[in-house]
Symmetry: C2
Subunit: 249 residues, 2 copies
DNA sequence: AGTCTTAGGTCATATAGATGACATTTGACC
DNA sequence: GGTCAAATGTCATCTATATGACCTAAGACT
């Protein structure tokens, strides 16, 4: 395998060549990013890939194992290995952390209130690591269940990646927005950092959720990361009745 | 390897014999539970263990890999593999999810207010899967930083496991209680489920945190699991200023 | 006593191949 | 056309072995 060519030549700093399986993993990620197989698409067989990369099957397997653990690939015994599409159940439960007080999963439909393209706020620039002049696509939406508005949400997305994102405001969507990020903009969310804080409802939030302005609400702020490690989503969600639930292991 | 003996003999239900590496993993977990090596202790070398279990090194390695991923073991290149002690940094950051608004980690000392042994409440029985007559050890404590009380906490632990738990109320502890669970009671926490909700401070919470009774606070309810999968801790934490932060991947 | 080298133990990475289980396709047969 | 069995391709598990990197301790040498 010749992935690490050129590194050894830098004098003084030997720069330990990374293990083959890591290089293979990164090659795979690169191909996924480039859309060689597309979400839901099947990879070539392990045999073929190993030959193509010039490594043994065991080594290739270790690389794909990592990506399966990471939730990027899904293996199906006897069928093959495919790139995870965000609609898959696994991927959905991974990022939807709202639950009712009795432990029932929150299973909402979402209605888009606004879609704007504007300059990023200071907070958004910080959290998304954007330039001063950067623009974002802003989404404002309400997520409800059985007709009751339970979550009010403001999302900011780097405009350079998401300009072509179009959501029909007349339709209530039951799918995660991440499905649309992936389908329309080729952006796959692989990781997120959530911060849950106490907050007071601002005018719009209060109105959307049927609360008094200034009422205590839960605010979840999320920064989500794409395949290449770039920060691609800044999201704030407010709710008064739901709970945030997560498993640590 | 003869782990699965006796299973095949049950008629009608063939019960697919589990893969060797899973059986090896469970054997390891069993030994860890039984305290064969104790927290911080070193396992025999991979060679020895593989011989002892009658499997190849690759198979044994897959088993230990799983346990390392799960945070139960730690490998040190050139030294050996040891059972994780809860004081280790990794284990600490895993379960401490409170942060300041500016992102700084909450690094508290804890002061014990009360230790009681009493009948479990209905909620505790539900969350800990206890019998109707079960008793629990109850801990009440305040966690502060720089002299400021920031988290008020009530913990319930099954009395059959934790009766010998003794914490000195005169000393402020900077270590996680999980260290003491492990040292004094042989209970290792490996997994937890956290639920973050909006709440109103009760009288004691308000007093502890310097708030008005009924003030809005964040409540984190945790159910934590031991090595054998048993629920061993029910904890409720209240805070007004701190945030709950977690990474999803 | 202190420093350096060396030897041996450990985990980390990589290979090659064998066997089994699962899913789909092909084709014989009715 | 429909049904069943065989063939084929895929991932899953397991073995055996080799080499390298990292850590420690024992000696050799100053």
């Amino acid at each position: 395998m010749t992935f690490d060519q050129g590194h050894e030549s830098s004098p003084g700093r030997p720069l330990a060549p990374r293990p083959l399986y890591q290089q293979a993993r990164e090659l795979l990620v690169r191909k996924i990013i480039d859309g060689v197989w597309g979400p839901g698409g099947y990879l070539p067989s392990e045999q073929q890939l190993a030959r193509e990369f010039g490594v043994s099957i065991g080594t290739l397997r270790k690389a794909t194992d990592d990506l399966v653990d990471q939730g990027l690939l899904e293996r199906q015994h006897g069928r093959g290995t495919q790139v995870v599409a965000h609609s898959s159940a696994r991927s959905r439960f991974r990022f939807l952390r709202f639950f009712h007080a009795d432990g029932r999963l929150f299973d909402p439909v979402a209605r888009l209130l606004r879609r704007t393209v504007r300059a990023a706020t200071a907070a958004e620039r910080t959290h998304l690591a954007l330039e001063k002049s950067a623009r974002v696509v802003g989404l404002t939406r309400i997520r409800s269940e059985a007709g009751e508005a339970l979550v009010f949400e403001r999302i900011a997305l780097p405009a350079d990646l998401f300009l072509q994102l179009e959501l029909d405001p007349r339709v209530e969507l039951s799918e995660e927005v991440y499905v649309f990020y992936q389908r329309q903009c080729g952006v796959t969310i692989v990781r997120a950092e959530d911060q849950v804080a106490l907050d007071a409802a601002d005018a719009e939030t209060a109105q959307a959720l049927g609360l008094a302005e200034g009422a205590a609400v839960l605010r979840v702020r999320r920064v989500a990361y794409g395949l290449d490690g770039r920060r691609v989503e800044h999201r704030e969600s407010w709710t008064a009745k739901l709970r945030y639930q997560v498993e640590l292991d």
